[in-house]
């Protein structure tokens, strides 16, 4: 309760601060005058120098936490747009992420996904940071994501930015090997009614009702409700794996354009799902969250954003495990231009979690103490320096974080981008990123009651990465190309150590492994005609993990990195006559290291008919090449599930 009071006090204080700034008359006046008197003498010439791509190219907020043109971004970023998602026939956020070829992604069963970038994948992958509208969807249990409850309505997504490589300087711990940033639409882009529905073999049924309306002249809002029922996966024998499930969800978003320079957003959602298991009762998942965001342009050179969110999740696996998690988070960010050459961004953040686990009667493990409260304080600063303006830019920055496990941690990075005359951009980066401890590293005990054969590491410290990246990005006319190469060195990766070697038990979690990874990611996009676009992506990846002297762990990464050496994706979108569209996505994934998952190729295809602008009808085929195939999990494990071919039809009606 003490923590809740602190958080409540923090909330009210931040709101107070926000109000102080909003009503400060000098600032408000300045912003209004900007709207009425465009300062043409300054900007006309400058704006006209930009190409059409530069003017409208997706302004990417993730990488530098301030608007930046994609073709200038000095990192391995891919952007999935609403149009890509809609035409892909994806039915969940995780499926939509298949469109990013720089992710390693595997469907584990009907609800679980293993998603990572640059290796280190698993169902508890812990080196990727995922944000939905600035809300970190992170479980402090294992620093990963429960993908089954990240069911953002796909119709509401504006875009998804997928960055492979460290993003720790701006985004902090967990952004070791990548960041996924899901950004939903402004309420003003979702006005009117939207009804969607459909069903098929694997997607038994789904439906969404969304309504958006104006509340006064400057506030737009939307509200939605949705639900789905998904079929079970199959055991290798073909027998039903009984993991079918359903989830109901509702939410809202309000956007207030307080002035041309000031924008506020309030959004929230609630969900409730039941996941069947082949043995034991249904898993219950519920959650709710609310986000308040405020951004203000202070001047041509300066802007300020503040964000506050509260997130509660609850998961109950009967007789095995339960978790209640409350997260409070507040962030403040200011970007400003200093002189002619410095673009400075800095920010402060505070997060507080209260995590309560329940040890079930049949539990084989426990998180002890069952309840913990943790705090994180973060600050970051980054300066983009125009050494040669519009040609050579250097970005230096660091994140400084304080956590309850390891105290202060520093995560600096340096980036150089060099714009070539040929519409190309060459970039290089060196970063230090950390995966700070989570509860699984410190608080895990097995079995649930003493004597324990495995205990969390009381001295477990952060896993460290030093990453070196070199990339090239080219965009001109109908061609876009990106190449990113990387070499990373890891220190203190998680290991399981014998307490009294050579006795096999007891075991304790330690930092006994080092490792390295290297590889390259290539993507190319080409508009064959104005109605036919193809996108190809290829990733080559190697991960080596080894025990340090003194370590008794001999897993060599078997439990930490389950990824293919290479993968290839090809997508095609074509508009056909008669208001028809055809989208196809082919993927070829090499065998998964440390698992007996053979290489496979699969194909998704979607035929869409849009007889009027109000109505879309689509027929979607997923995983069409095989009756069932495995993407993840051990060959012999009783938990292994195969993913089956699926076909469904869908209707979307807007009015």
């Amino acid at each position: 309760m003490a923590d809740m009071k602190t958080a409540a006090a923090a909330t009210s204080l931040v709101f107070t601060l926000g109000l102080i700034c909003v009503v400060r008359p000098g600032v408000a006046q300045q912003a209004d005058s900007a709207r009425q008197r465009p300062d043409s003498s300054v900007s006309a010439a400058a704006l006209k120098k930009l190409s059409i791509e530069q003017l409208m190219d997706l302004q990417v907020t993730s990488v530098s936490k301030r608007p930046e043109r994609l073709s200038q971004t000095a990192s391995a970023i891919q952007v999935i747009t609403q149009q890509d998602i809609r035409r892909s026939g994806a039915s969940s956020l995780a499926e939509a992420l298949r469109l990013a070829s720089n992710l390693q992604l595997a469907q584990v069963d009907s609800r679980q996904w293993a998603i990572s970038a640059r290796g280190f994948n698993g169902t508890t992958a812990n080196k990727l940071l995922v944000l939905i509208d600035g809300r970190t969807i992170y479980t402090p249990l294992f620093s990963g994501v429960f993908w089954d409850v990240q069911e953002v309505p796909l119709e509401d997504i504006d875009r998804i930015e997928v960055i492979s490589g460290p993003g720790a300087t701006l985004w902090g711990a967990n952004a070791v090997n990548g960041v996924i940033n899901v950004i939903t639409k402004d309420a003003k882009d979702t006005q009117g009614f939207l009804l969607t529905g459909g069903g098929g073999t694997e997607q038994h049924g789904f439906g969404t009702v969304r309504y958006g309306a104006a509340l006064g002249s400057s506030v737009r809002a939307r509200i939605y409700g949705r639900g789905f029922d998904r079929d079970a996966t199959a055991f290798p024998s073909g027998q039903d794996a009984a993991d079918d499930w359903h989830l109901e969800q509702g939410g809202f978003r309000m956007d207030w354009e307080a002035s041309s320079a000031s924008h506020a957003t309030l959004q929230g959602e609630l969900y409730d799902g039941r996941i069947a298991q082949d043995s034991g009762g249904d898993i219950a998942v519920t959650g709710r969250n609310v986000i308040a965001k405020w951004s203000r342009t202070l001047s041509e050179r300066s802007s300020l954003t503040a964000q506050l969110y509260y997130d509660r999740t609850h998961r109950d696996i009967p007789r095995l495990f339960g978790e209640h998690l409350d997260t409070y988070d507040v962030e403040l960010q200011h970007s400003t231009r200093l002189g002619a050459r410095h673009d400075l961004v800095w920010g402060l953040g505070y997060r507080n979690i209260n995590d309560r686990t329940v040890v079930g009667a049949d539990s084989t493990l426990a998180f002890l103490p069952t309840q913990v409260a943790r705090e994180w304080f973060t600050g970051f600063v980054q300066d983009e320096i125009a050494l040669v303006p519009n040609r050579v830019h250097v970005t230096l920055g660091t994140k400084i974080e304080h956590n309850d496990y390891t105290g202060f941690e520093v995560q600096p990075s340096g980036r150089v981008s060099w714009r070539l005359a040929s519409s190309g951009l060459l970039w290089a980066a060196v970063s230090r990123a950390l995966r700070t401890p989570s509860r699984i590293d410190r608080d895990l005990f097995a079995p649930a009651k003493p004597p324990y054969f495995l205990t969390g590491g009381p001295d477990f410290h952060s896993e460290e990465e030093l990453a070196y990246e070199l990339g090239y990005r080219y965009q001109r006319g109908s061609v876009a190309l990106s190449v990113a190469t990387f070499y990373s060195r890891y220190h203190g990766l998680r290991s399981i150590e014998q307490v009294n070697p050579p006795n096999p038990v007891p075991l304790v979690i330690g930092n006994g492994q080092d490792g390295e990874s290297y590889g390259g990611e290539v993507t190319a996009e080409y508009w064959l005609t104005s109605r036919w676009r193809v996108h190809a992506g290829y990733t080559e990846l190697r991960v080596h993990v080894w025990p340090n002297p003194g370590s008794t762990d001999r897993s060599r990464g078997a439990t930490e990195s389950q990824v293919p050496d290479r993968q290839f994706l090809l997508q095609s979108w074509v508009d056909l006559p008669g208001h028809l569209g055809l989208a196809a996505g082919f993927r070829a994934i090499d065998d998964i290291n440390h698992q007996l998952v053979p290489a496979y190729a699969e194909l998704n295809a979607t035929l869409t008919w849009q007889p009027t602008s109000h109505l879309d009808l689509s027929l979607v085929g997923q995983n069409l090449l095989h009756d069932q195939h495995r993407e993840f999990g051990a060959a012999t494990s009783p938990t292994r599930r195969d993913i089956q071919r699926g076909v469904y039809g869908a209707v979307a009606w807007r009015f």
Binding site: I20, R24, S40, I52, M56
Partner: protein, 180 residues
Amino acid sequence: MAFLKITAAVLLVCAPRLGAQAAKASEAQVKAVFLFNFAQFVDWPAESVPDSQAPLVIGILGEDPFGDFLDATVRGERRGARPFAVHRYQRVDDVTRCDILFIGQSAGDAPEEIIARLKNRPILTVSDADRFAQRGGMIRFVTDRSRIRLQINPAAAEAAHLTISSKLLRVAEVITPTGR
């Protein structure tokens, strides 16, 4: 709580100083530059160009959100040998010779109505009205806070005998033909 006090102090110190700086390039400024740029990415049928020196007219129907910025943007510019001109219209019936028409929010009639009246005239229609491209318009500005994206309905342009370059389509969201 010490952390929050620091935050508070920083906020209070920063805000007044920042407010004293210059004005920001507004949404309207950027849109004006877009309108100017569209001229480079669209081909008009030869019969719609009176002569090679005729001004390329950017029209604004209804309320003008650009102030004098659009005029400043096109001042001294040419497309080939053609200079630019900016005309303002109150009603759709006032639209005389025009190559690019920005339809303001307060243009009165619904976009469908305006487009119907312009039917078959080789005019590139642009607006930021909701679902403009789906409603038969050619290009819609979609503003997402500081970001402006384009939705383009190539079929509507084709119907007016305009050719939109694939370079422009490449960076826009292509809206498939609307129902009739």
